[in-house]
């Protein structure tokens, strides 16, 4: 236990220096130096935020995501290449294995270059669908940049995304307009809870292929807000995959470009949005950490949770049924440089389940107090009237934040023989208790009479 804690402490200390919780080794896959120039500002920003960037060409011999079965990079950025394939070192399987080892992947697509088969099958595996034909792009005749795409309407100017739904934190909000040039739209499968849209297309947008000779969009790939420009997938192990539909969004040319939306001159906010998306993709934000998790029998005295990692949790292993228990857990959220107290968004709550196979209790935890970098959530409840092996479980899974799944097993025992109420406390037993003591008194009286009774005169007379 103690080595684990010191490891945690070490991890924490190293995280203070680096920016991402997940590590700083970043691999950028792109074709040549000239390509790198185009993304110079984006990569420069990443370097300034503490990432160590390695640039490799897709089919380079030195390129390998694994060495001795361990990851050689923490994050991978796949930028569009001219080549059709990415080579054996970046097959869909290798990328999935990379994510299974908690590596993060950021994929940028481009409608001008064909999406490599490895990326296509990787996205398909994760239930993210892109148009299969090269060149398909998103157009919108309502929200386009009339400076650069007056005729083609394929450079969209979109506001920052709003909150996905109530109870979800928006890590991508901001002020301004984002230029989305020639994006490959994605649609998300309905089944997976792991995928989420980051930036949706406006309701009048649609995806079509300019190479189609048809004069009108007869059969668009997808329309309106079902079409995503940027989408995200967070696996069960919290590895993140981000798909950016338009790699051009990340290029210097669009980072602070003058554009015109409906006659109004605006400046694109791509640099800020790219930072927000990459910060999320590489686990600089939205990373939760569970600190101490304590539970104890509530004897009417409220205990202060000691958050020091030097002191072990020291929780009871056994409780009685129907006893009052208090539970408290410490949760912090990583915010770019350090841990801050985690505050769940409006309409959301961290929930504690007290479960044996299925939950007997599922309770919303209230924030009790805050330390410098964590919030302590807690609740009190009464153990159910069922004995067995129970778990205190916090299973917190939400879009855009890393998963929390913490369990502490306890035994819940039955009443011991001397913990039941005594018989005189039960009014229904009074008749039987009276019977017992009447019998006792009668027996003593009988013994006395048997020992010391003299023959009765009346008996003598009858004899």
């Amino acid at each position: 236990m103690r080595w684990l804690l010191s490891l945690l402490l070490l991890g924490y200390l190293s995280a203070v220096q680096a920016l991402s919780v997940a590590g700083t080794r970043l691999l950028v896959v792109l074709e040549d130096g000239a390509e790198r120039e185009k993304y110079g500002a984006f990569l420069g920003d990443l370097e300034a935020r503490g990432f160590h960037i390695t640039t490799e060409a897709p089919k380079s011999d030195s390129l390998s995501l694994f060495k001795h079965g361990e990851r050689t990079y923490d994050h991978v950025v796949l930028l569009p290449c001219l080549a059709k394939g990415l080579g054996p070192a970046l097959s869909a399987n290798v990328l999935l294995d990379f994510m299974k080892k908690e590596g993060n992947v950021l994929v940028a697509l481009s409608s001008e270059r064909s999406t490599p088969a490895a990326v296509q099958s990787l996205l398909l595996e994760l239930d993210i669908h892109i148009p299969s034909d090269k060149g398909a792009l998103v157009v919108d005749h309502f929200n386009y940049d009339s400076t650069s795409a007056a005729d083609k309407h394929d450079v969209l100017l979109l506001p920052y995304p709003t909150t996905l739904k109530t109870g979800v934190t928006n890590y991508f909000g901001g002020d301004g307009l984002i230029a989305v040039p020639r994006a490959v739209g994605q649609t998300l499968g309905n089944e997976s809870p792991l995928t989420a849209p980051i930036l949706r297309a406006p309701c009048t947008a649609y995806s079509y292929n300019p190479k189609d000779e048809a004069d009108s969009a007869e059969d668009p790939f997808a329309t309106g807000s079902q079409l995503n420009i940027v989408s995200a997938m967070q696996a069960h192990n919290s590895a993140r995959l981000t798909v950016i539909g338009s790699a051009e969004m990340l290029q210097n040319a669009w980072f602070a470009e003058k554009a015109t939306l409906s006659g109004k001159a605006v400046k694109t906010a791509n640099r800020d949005f790219a930072e927000k998306v990459s910060a999320w993709a590489f686990k600089e934000v939205g990373v939760l950490k569970v600190g101490k998790l304590v539970h104890y029998q509530d004897e009417g005295v409220s205990k202060k949770v000691n958050t020091s990692v030097a002191i072990p949790e020291n929780n009871p292993k056994i409780y009685r049924i129907k006893s009052d228990v208090t539970f408290a857990v410490e949760i912090s959220e990583y915010d770019k440089t350090h841990y801050v107290p985690f505050v769940p968004p409006e309409g959301d709550a961290i929930q504690l389940e007290f479960s044996m196979l299925s939950p007997f209790h599922r309770l919303n935890l209230r924030p009790i107090s805050q330390t410098a970098n964590s919030t302590i959530f807690g609740t009190s409840f009464r153990t159910p009237d069922q004995h067995g092996i129970f778990n205190f479980r916090i299973n917190y899974r939400r879009p855009f934040v890393t998963n929390i799944d913490e369990k502490r097993q306890v035994t819940v025992r039955h009443f011991a023989h001397d913990e039941w109420p005594r018989s005189w406390q039960i009014s229904g037993a009074w008749v039987w208790i009276a019977g017992v003591w009447v019998t006792v008194a009668g027996w003593i009286a009988f013994v006395a009479v048997w020992l010391w009774s003299a023959p009765a005169n009346t008996v003598k007379k009858t004899q």
Binding site: A217, Q351, S453, A456
Partner: protein, 286 residues
């Protein structure tokens, strides 16, 4: 929000409509019941400026048919985008249906309930239907709310609603429901019966007294064999006392040694005391 945005863009779009703008004319909306011939059914004229006042109702077997001519400025023209967009305001879901447009700008779309996603079929509110027409170039696009569509379903035909897919969100709270505590009968009943049981003792003693039971030989017995009698009766009292202690506070390991000691005393003294009683019986005093 989305509505706000689109209206904002719309407002913006109308201001730049310097050159020309997309619109439509001769729009007719027909709801055609199943089996009815071509050209039958209710026909409604649609105009881009004003939505219909009343929602249009689409039954289970009806076909919605929308015909229009898209125009760019004054002339009929084929736009690149001609959609009929349905939106459910409560869920925010939108779906667009493509109008097949010919070169002369005449467009057509047909819809039945089978084409609609399940969320539209179960929607409580009427769906908002807009026509979106836009194309490349500088002409301003059009998004006009034209009517409301009320999807009426036959309540007798069940709808196969697919199971809701899993989404991570806050779950319903569960509070364990405890079994009821065991209950005692009303105290008054208990007290009456307890009193009846207790009353048996005086009755028993009274009956014994009436039959001539007495303690007259106590002095005789105490003079003949004082120690055995005192010890024997005392040990019987002590045994009951031990039972009382066991009932209230002692555990079995405290009870057993004490009971053993008292039992030995009772056995030894009892022998003597009962011999004395036998002597009295032999003397004819019992």
């Amino acid at each position: 929000m989305r509505f706000l945005l689109s209206s904002f863009f719309l407002a913006g779009a109308s201001t730049v409509a310097a050159a020309s703008s997309w619109s439509f004319e001769d729009a007719t909306l027909t709801i055609q019941p199943k089996g009815a011939g071509v050209g039958t059914g209710d026909k409604v004229q649609l105009v881009p400026e004003l939505p219909l006042a009343k929602p249009v109702s689409l039954g289970t077997t009806d076909t919605l048919k929308l015909l229009l001519t898209a125009t760019d400025g004054k002339s009929a023209k084929r736009p690149h985008q001609a959609f009929l967009t349905l939106a459910d305001r409560s869920s925010g879901l939108e779906d667009s249906f493509v109008l097949k447009v010919k070169d002369n700008g005449k467009g057509k779309v047909e819809l039945t309930q089978k084409d609609l996603p399940i969320q539209f079929l179960t929607s409580e509110q009427p769906l908002e239907a807009s026509i979106v027409i836009g194309s490349f170039g500088s002409s301003a696009p059009l998004k006009a709310k034209v009517f409301e569509l009320d999807v009426t379903r036959d309540p007798n035909t069940p709808l196969a609603v697919p199971e809701k897919p899993l989404r991570y969100a806050v779950d319903k709270e569960i509070h364990h429901i405890f079994k009821d505590d065991p209950k005692s009968p009303p105290k008054i009943i208990t007290l009456v019966f307890a009193a009846a049981v207790t009353a048996c003792l005086p009755v028993l003693l009274g009956v014994w007294a009436a039959l001539g039971a007495n303690l007259s030989h106590l002095t005789k017995a105490m003079s003949n064999a004082p120690i055995p009698h005192a010890l024997f009766f005392g040990s019987i009292l002590a045994m009951e006392g031990i039972f009382f202690m066991y009932y209230t506070s002692w555990n079995l390991f405290q009870t057993l040694p004490a009971a053993a000691i008292v039992a030995v005393v009772a056995f030894l003294s009892g022998g003597r005391a009962l011999s004395e009683v036998q002597e009295r019986r032999l003397a004819g005093l019992r």
